[in-house]
Amino acid sequence: MSPENATATEPALRLELRDIVKSYGGVRAIRHADFAVRPGTVHALVGENGAGKSTLIKIIAGAERADAGSIVFDGVASTIASTADAIKLGVQTVYQEPQLFPELSVAENVFVGREIKRGLRIDWTAQADHMHELLNTVGLPDRIATVPVGSLSIAEQQQVSIAKALAGEATVLILDEPSAILTDSEIDVLFAVIRRLTASGVAVIYISHRLDELFRIADVVTVMRDGRTITTEPIGELSVRQIAELMVGGVVSESRPAQGETAGEIVLELDALSGADTFRNVSLTVRSGEIVGLYGLVGSGAGDIASVVYGIDRASSGRMLLSGEPVTIHSASKARRLGIHLLPANRSAQGSFSFQSIAFNITAGELKLLSRLPGWVTRRRERDIAREFIDRLAVKTPSQSSPLSSMSGGNAQKVVLARQLVKRPRLLVLVEPTQGVDVGAKEEIHRIISRLADEGTAVLVVTSDLGEVLRISDRILVVRDGEITAEFRPDATQVEILAAASGAESDPTKESA
């Protein structure tokens, strides 16, 4: 892992991409990229959303073909025209969204497309044998082999994705933001797996938005910006701040966004609220102009509190008061009428209409604003509102009629956020607002949230991102096992908060293998 070692016994290149160019329609996704990985190393690939990382990965994985440039594999010029070609070379990819088959068992998922055969038929015995080994490698118990993937947690699904990638002969393993959906202890497990793989000579390409974690796992880092590979350096030569600067091409301000100084009257009050076996006895208040951060690890119940506030799930006991009035919310439309807006965590499932235009996505839910006659949507109003928000949020898009599915994660999130802002809400509930979003977009989203609070909105942010909760909250409540266990001011340290969230037995600085 140390840089001296890497230079002393520098192995030959496993995979080299030279002068890669790729356009989609008229948009240049990659202007010029050079990229080379060595066996037994972890090569981090970073860049803002839209910098070209995903495209470069797709070209290596065979999901897209480059317009120009060459690919050299183990010293031999190669063509990767399809995913099957890539897999034949041993290039295995774990995509950001697990590419799995929910109806099939873990064992079947792992071997799809790479079945071990004897004659015509699948050799189930050989697969079972290999399965045991693979589950061991990724740290899953044997009994999970027969479980349908659809019933696993996201973290487990990702471990299955890695097992799947390793089922074939892996020479290059691409991990596209594997840590985005994982909790810290799950990341430790992931890193242990990666170290085991590099020790056996696999080249790992690692994409992440969490720059700090690169220093724990990566050997080399390549920074992309505006479709170009800007620099490739051993990780030890750079600092987080330097990498961030290279990514955005300028100096990143570290100052916190202004915080709501003068909180107004209480907007939301939860009084001993309990959900159906998700959380218990939760009492909290959010004042007008205040940003309250609800921090909890995945599965803590923090997200479930938000679901009840918004009327997606129902409380089993306790009261919820809005500006002092007890309210019962049984539907999202009632929540909206009361001025409560939600930015959901899983934006692709709950928050967006991916094939519809950006304008449609911004104005969906606020169609009344668009109409002069009831039920009549004015296209021009839709366009005007969309344009205003695209400008306000600095959304990068070729046109407001482009479908949301054509945008990068950070920009799509801004669009979904924009929808909540069309009518300035009384209470805004955000769940994981910057999950899978790059540094620049994250800052902008935080700025928007702060501005809304300054304008008097009460904001409740549910997040499992420690840096985020510290940066934007006026008050931090920690949720553990369905209960609020601690409250902090924003000057608390990360260690204090993490300890409260994960229980006394956990030590966040520990590296478990």
Partner: protein
């Protein structure tokens, strides 16, 4: 987390293999067997003639073409597709084959080859349009259903096809159509169901169909040739339609009327869905489809034998479909909730 499996012994590995193998029959299939047995016993109690060979045999003959096409339909629905053109395709294959029998007095193997060949062609047409045209299967097959029907009616002219020679009597209800008392068409169907069951369970081609229906994008990224597999499923269904058309010709008495095949697509889809194949794709079985076909035909024939109005059969089949689909949806929701 068993450390003791590290040096996994041969029996241990075999045991694990059994565990990761997809189960040979599903719970839903056992439930279906139970429902069929109960129905048969009840029908036997109320109409004693029901459990006689003279009543069971025609039932099996009527099950054969539905289950046969159902095998292909199961493959298609597993890939999250559908084919509503099989009714029209039966009609076209049957009328062309029947006419050829009348006009050219084809020998049996040639007649079968003609019908299967034509069906294969129709299936390939559907498959190419769906796999490579990337239009939803229901749209394409709805279109081709109408085209097939138009062509078939043109071949019919304005009348039935009369004077069909007894070439297909080996598939008929008569003495020539059975061995050891079992109808040939049903035997052929059983063999094809068995082969299809083995294919779906034990070959990568079969397992990949489930993968495609579960998540086509993920299947493509896993290196599966998605489009050829989808094309093959429709082609197979077409070929089976061709064979089933021979059974339909054999079922008539030297005439073929224009109602042949009409509405059969719904009977086939009903059999597949009742058999536990998820209409959303990714899950299904041909044994279930065979049982579904037997259930559907039992209800139809039972209603007739009890002397009830025949529309009641539709009611019962409808209820079974809703129960089957409902169970599937509840199962999926339960899984999402966990």
């Amino acid at each position: 987390m068993s450390v003791d499996q590290a040096g996994a012994s041969a029996p241990a590995v075999r045991a694990t293999a059994r565990r990761i193998l997809p189960p040979p029959v599903t719970g839903q299939e056992l439930v279906l067997v139970g429902v069929i047995v109960v129905l048969w016993v009840l029908l036997g109690l109320f109409t004693p003639a029901f459990l006689s060979a003279g009543s069971i045999r025609p039932l099996l003959v009527s099950v054969a073409p539905i289950a046969l096409i159902g095998v292909g339909m199961t493959f298609i629905i597993i890939t999250a597709g559908i084919d509503v053109s099989v009714g029209g395709a039966i009609m076209l294959c049957a009328v062309v084959t029947a006419k050829s029998l009348v006009d050219f007095d084809l020998a049996l193997p040639l007649a079968i080859a003609l019908s299967i060949g034509l069906g294969l062609l129709l299936g390939l047409l559907n498959g190419v349009l769906i796999a490579y045209g990337r239009v939803h299967a229901i749209i394409i097959t709805f279109g081709t259903a109408n085209i097939f029907q138009f062509l078939a009616l043109r071949v019919f002219g304005s009348s039935t096809v009369n004077g069909i020679p007894g070439t297909f009597d080996v598939f008929g209800r008569g003495e020539a159509g059975r061995t050891f008392g079992v109808p040939h068409s049903f035997l052929i169907t059983i063999v094809i169901v068995a082969v299809a069951w083995w294919y779906l369970r034990h070959t990568s081609g079969g397992r990949n169909l489930f993968a495609i229906g579960g998540n086509a994008q993920a299947a493509r990224l896993a290196g599966i040739a998605v489009q050829p597999r989808i094309l093959a499923a429709y082609a197979l269904t077409g070929a089976l339609v061709g064979l089933a058309a021979c059974f339909f010709i054999a079922a008539g008495t030297s005439t073929l009327d224009q109602a042949v095949g009409s509405g059969r697509e719904l009977a086939v889809i009903a059999a597949v869905v009742i058999g536990g194949t998820s209409i959303l794709g990714g899950r299904g079985s041909v044994i279930g489809t065979l049982l579904g076909a037997i259930l559907v035909q039992t209800v139809t024939s039972g209603v007739t034998q009890l002397g009830w109005p025949s529309q009641l059969a539709n009611l019962f089949v409808g209820v079974f479909i809703i129960i089957a689909v409902g169970t599937d949806l509840l199962r999926q929701r339960a899984r999402k909730a966990s």
